[in-house]
């Protein structure tokens, strides 16, 4: 139980660092001077001290929605697979619930975008709605496939099962599912090539457009939610698709887990440096690839058993 709580707190603390790490690694790769790893914390504390400007066009949705954006993600943190062998974990919560909780968070974020009566907010919401509608089937199919291989639908239990019996005999479908899930990780977190979190150009904005009218604490909450979402996806990816190193003693296993999270962050950063952002109407092609890989994974599992 202590391990369980420690892991969650650790992951929460790690969340802003991971995003800052991606950013500084990208800067390094582009021969710029990298920003500090603690930049996420600095931004957060600065935003917390600022006064909050609320638009007079907004309604009570803006007052409450930021909390509803963050809270489903925080609840999801409690349902992640364990990091250390033998640690407490919530075994039963399945992927539909987790997908649903993430969608709930996105739902309120989209409402938030529409609430401020600005064209940017609506634009961001509209694009987000488009992309998340297409992410949903890929997510469900991928998770279905993985849970078949793991032999359990509960995400926590699936993570443990995969760590104990790595599905060597289903390597092909496992890999397909992994590729599909990595695309989802990028799409759901608004990274390049789907969305560029660093620009504020109306041609490219998705996530930033929705939150353009937020400031102060509200913005801090939404930024926190974005980083928590990245940690959720990264640790799901790590627990389901790189399920190694759980059997060591607690500190070592946690360190290995964190190293794997940074590995995912490096992969994302390298991908971001090497690709250009896709046009909005090209994004469905990428998500289509993800859906096709999810189908392939299921079909190879069923037909070839591989």
């Amino acid at each position: 139980m202590i391990l369980y709580v420690t892991t969650i707190i650790l992951l929460l603390l790690l969340a802003p660092i991971l995003l800052s790490f991606i950013k500084s690694l990208k800067m390094l790769l582009l021969f710029k001077r990298p920003s500090s790893l603690l930049q996420g914390y600095r931004n957060f504390s600065k935003l917390m001290q600022k006064e909050t400007i609320v638009s007079e066009e907004t309604s009570s949705i803006t007052t409450y929605a930021p909390f509803l954006v963050l809270s489903p993600l925080l609840v999801t943190m409690f349902f992640l697979p364990p990091v250390v062998h033998g640690a407490f974990y919530v075994s039963f919560v399945d992927a539909f619930t987790i997908t649903g909780l993430i969608s709930l968070s996105t739902f309120f974020l989209m409402l938030l975008g529409l609430d401020s009566a600005s064209a940017f907010g609506g634009m961001g919401s509209s694009r987000e709605a488009f992309i998340s509608a297409l992410v949903e089937p890929a997510m469900v199919l991928t998770v279905f496939s993985v849970s078949m291989m793991a032999g359990d639908l509960g995400i926590g239990q699936a993570g443990v099962n995969l760590a104990e019996h790595f599905p060597k005999e289903h390597m092909a479908s496992f890999l397909f599912a992994g590729i599909s899930f990595f695309i989802l990780l990028i799409a759901e977190n608004g990274r390049i090539p789907v969305d560029n979190p660093e620009t504020h150009l109306e041609l490219t904005m998705i996530h930033e457009a929705m939150i353009l009218d937020l400031s102060g604490v509200y913005l801090a909450i939404i930024e926190a939610a974005a980083s928590v979402k990245f940690v959720i996806f990264a640790s799901l990816f790590v627990s389901l698709f790189i399920p190694f190193g759980l059997e060591y003693s607690a500190p070592v296993a946690i360190l290995i887990f964190i190293a794997k999270l940074f590995g995912v962050a490096i992969a994302v950063a390298v991908l971001e440096v090497n690709t250009a952002k896709l046009r909005l109407f090209k994004v469905p092609n990428l998500l289509g690839i993800s859906i096709v890989f999810a189908f392939l994974s299921l079909i190879t599992f069923y037909v070839l058993g591989a």
Binding site: M48, E51, T52, I53, V54, S55, E56, E57, S59, S60, L70, S71, V75, F92, V93, D94, A95, F96, T97, G100, L101, S103, L104, F107, M110, L111, G113, L114, D115, S116, A117, S118, A119, G121, G122, M123, S125, S126, R127, A129, F130, S132, A133, L134, E136, P137, M139, V140, L141, F144, S147, M148, L153, G154, I221, L280, F281, F295, I299, Y302
Partner: protein
């Protein structure tokens, strides 16, 4: 004459849950209606007839109440005749509902051997002896699913529901469609029981297509009630997916999974009744205040209509299947039942089910998009028209109707095990195995899937943790005593006004563009340019109209076909006597030749010769020269 078995009683409960809040709402709505007597008479007769349908014990009573239900609802659509569209919608509804009725009558005449006062259970023997059970199955599909609004018989919904007064559309969409599902279930279980696997697949395919078609057309809709009507098609599709899975599992002998899938479908029947009624009531309240159904004319209503906005939000979350709402729970169950498909040994079937999962998942995603649009454009932002500016909260009765219905939604979420135990008993009474003990093995907090290694969900824990964390965050925020300042939304230096906001058309733009091959939309773009400039204009308008695919192909197509056919019949009917004689002569030739071909020897040479003779004789004698 009447029967009160568990299935009937469950649907009676459904009707009561759906109508009691609706009656309150309807009384609040009454001052808005001119023909009060006409409305009330038909309204209560409508409710009465729905109860009659679900408790009917023989075919005659069933058909009587079924027809009464159709006629009263048809009259209710005609309550407020403002334009020709309403009359057209009502006529279309009348036609579609009687299209279904014909098949029902045929079905009953076959399975009761002409004795319409026979019990349903006695029909089974005749149905088993009947040589073509699939014919009977298709009669059920035509009869009941044309009422329920499944593809391809869904076309009347987006016309009929917006035309009716709001309490009636809530009743029609929330309850009447479910009565059709009741009929479908009743005769599938009671009369046609051992189902071949193909039937289940047919239902599954219809369900998947309906869910996708419904949500896609809902997204492109600007009339709020037509949007909701399209969502009814989607949800009927989801119910049918559950149904189809149940039938497939049953024919494969996976009894527990079959019961689980049927429970999921029944649960979704209840959930859809609750949130769809609530949504129609909310839409009705908005319509009542703003006097327009066009979603582009709303905006900012959350400030003037807080109760409506809150209940509409609850229903939106529920219909988008977001946890921990009741809509999520039933969709979760349907997903879980589909995941049970890995027990199936037939590989081709096994490979087909992921496509249904795909359909259901993308439906969920698009439903979220659609309800963000419906909620965001209606209630958030700035007023898009004067009507929206002058809107007030509706009267007490309407408010209490909505609040009562949201209590029904919440009760379906909180007391899931209780409702599931009803559905379980229903399925047991229909000779299925009980799965209640498997679904709630330890306590009633966690709901388990019946599939091997199935998932678990606990609505109460989810709700409590979400509420807890949100409140914790909120109080932490309050404790910070953050200074807040109120200022305008930043509009890039321009004034933020209603026109700078995103419109519903714009919101659905990306999705509409992506699915353009399906929508085939009709765009009207008009710009009053200043001088020769491409980018400077004084006035512009953009409109998109989408004509649904099925209406375009199936309905318009058959209309055209009938027209062509009737043209030829017309030409024949206006011939002179000599031509009639020629036709008789040709007919005799045809009979003689075909007699020779079919009953004597057949040789290609004579066949060709006879065909040539026939063609020449038809050409010369009947068609004649072109004028």
């Amino acid at each position: 004459m009447f029967q009160f078995d568990t299935l009937s009683l469950v649907f009676v409960a459904l009707i009561f849950l759906g109508t009691i809040p609706n009656i309150l709402y309807s009384f609040g709505y009454l001052p808005h209606i001119q023909r009060k007597m006409h409305y009330q008479l038909h309204y209560f007769a409508f409710i009465f007839s729905m109860i009659g349908v679900v408790v009917a014990g023989n075919a005659l009573v069933f058909l009587f109440f079924w027809e009464l239900m159709s006629l009263t609802s048809w009259q209710l659509i005609l309550t407020e005749v403002k334009d020709k569209e309403t009359i057209k919608a009502a006529r279309f509804y009348f036609l579609m509902t009687h299209f279904g009725f014909v098949f029902l009558l045929l079905f009953f005449l076959i399975v009761s051997d002409g004795n319409l006062s026979m019990n349903f259970s006695d029909m089974k023997n005749i149905a088993t002896a009947f040589a073509y059970p699939t014919l009977l199955f298709f009669m059920l599909i035509f009869g009941f699913l044309s009422k329920a609004g499944a593809v391809p018989f869904h076309v009347w919904l987006p016309y009929a529901h917006p035309a009716a007064p709001s309490p009636v559309s809530a009743l029609m969409s929330g309850v009447m469609l479910k009565v059709a599902i009741y009929g479908f279930a009743r005769f599938l279980f009671d009369v046609l029981y051992p189902w071949p696997m193909e039937w289940g697949i047919v239902v599954l395919v219809i369900g998947s297509i309906s869910s996708l078609v419904g949500v896609l057309y809902a997204l492109s809709e600007h009339d709020i009630k037509a949007l909701l009507a399209n969502h009814s098609i989607e949800n009927i599709g989801i119910i049918l997916i559950g149904f189809g899975m149940g039938m497939i599992f049953d024919s494969l002998g996976l009894k527990a999974l079959s019961t689980f899938a049927f429970i999921a479908a029944l649960f979704h029947v209840f959930n859809h009744m609750s949130f769809k009624s609530l949504l129609f009531m909310g839409a009705g309240s908005v319509l009542h205040q703003t006097h327009t159904k066009n979603i582009e004319k709303y905006g900012g209503l959350i400030k003037s209509m807080p109760v409506t906005a809150l209940t509409f939000l609850l229903a939106s979350i529920s219909i988008s299947a977001l946890p921990p709402s009741n809509g999520f729970l039933s969709e979760w169950m349907i997903f879980q039942s589909m995941l049970g498909s890995h027990d199936i040994t037939d590989t081709s079937l096994k490979l087909a089910i992921p496509f249904a999962i795909f359909a259901l998942a993308i439906t969920g995603g698009l439903a979220i998009a659609c309800f963000v649009k419906a909620y965001g454009i209606t209630f958030l932002g700035l007023h898009r028209s004067k009507n929206a500016k002058h809107a007030h909260e509706v009267n007490f009765l309407m408010k209490s109707g909505m609040i009562l219905m949201s209590l029904v939604v919440i009760s379906l979420m909180l007391f899931t095990p209780f409702y599931i135990s009803w559905f379980d008993k229903t399925l047991v009474s229909l000779h299925h195995v009980s799965v209640y003990a498997k679904m709630f093995p330890h306590e009633f907090i966690n709901m388990h899937s019946v599939a091997v290694h199935g998932g678990v969900v606990s609505p109460l824990i989810l709700l409590a943790s979400l509420l807890g964390v949100t409140l914790l965050l909120f109080f932490a925020y309050k404790a910070l005593h953050v200074k807040t300042k109120v200022y305008h939304t930043w509009g890039c230096g321009y004034k933020t006004s209603a026109k700078t906001q995103y419109s519903a058309t714009g919101f659905a733009g990306p999705i509409r563009r992506f699915f353009d091959w399906l929508y085939n939309s009709d765009e009207h773009f008009h710009k009053e340019r200043i001088g020769e400039h491409e980018t400077k204009f004084s006035d512009s308008s953009y409109e998109v109209h989408v004509k649904p695919l099925f209406e375009r192909s199936l309905y318009e197509g058959s209309k055209k076909g009938t027209n062509i056919l009737s043209y030829w019949v017309y030409r024949l009917a206006h011939f002179e006597q000599t031509r009639y004689a020629a036709m008789i002569f040709n007919l005799m030739l045809l009979v003689l030749f075909s007699y020779r071909i079919f009953f004597h020897d057949f040789s290609w040479a004579t066949f060709v010769l006879e065909s040539v003779v026939m063609i020449i004789s038809v050409k010369v004698l009947i068609i004649g020269d072109k004028k």
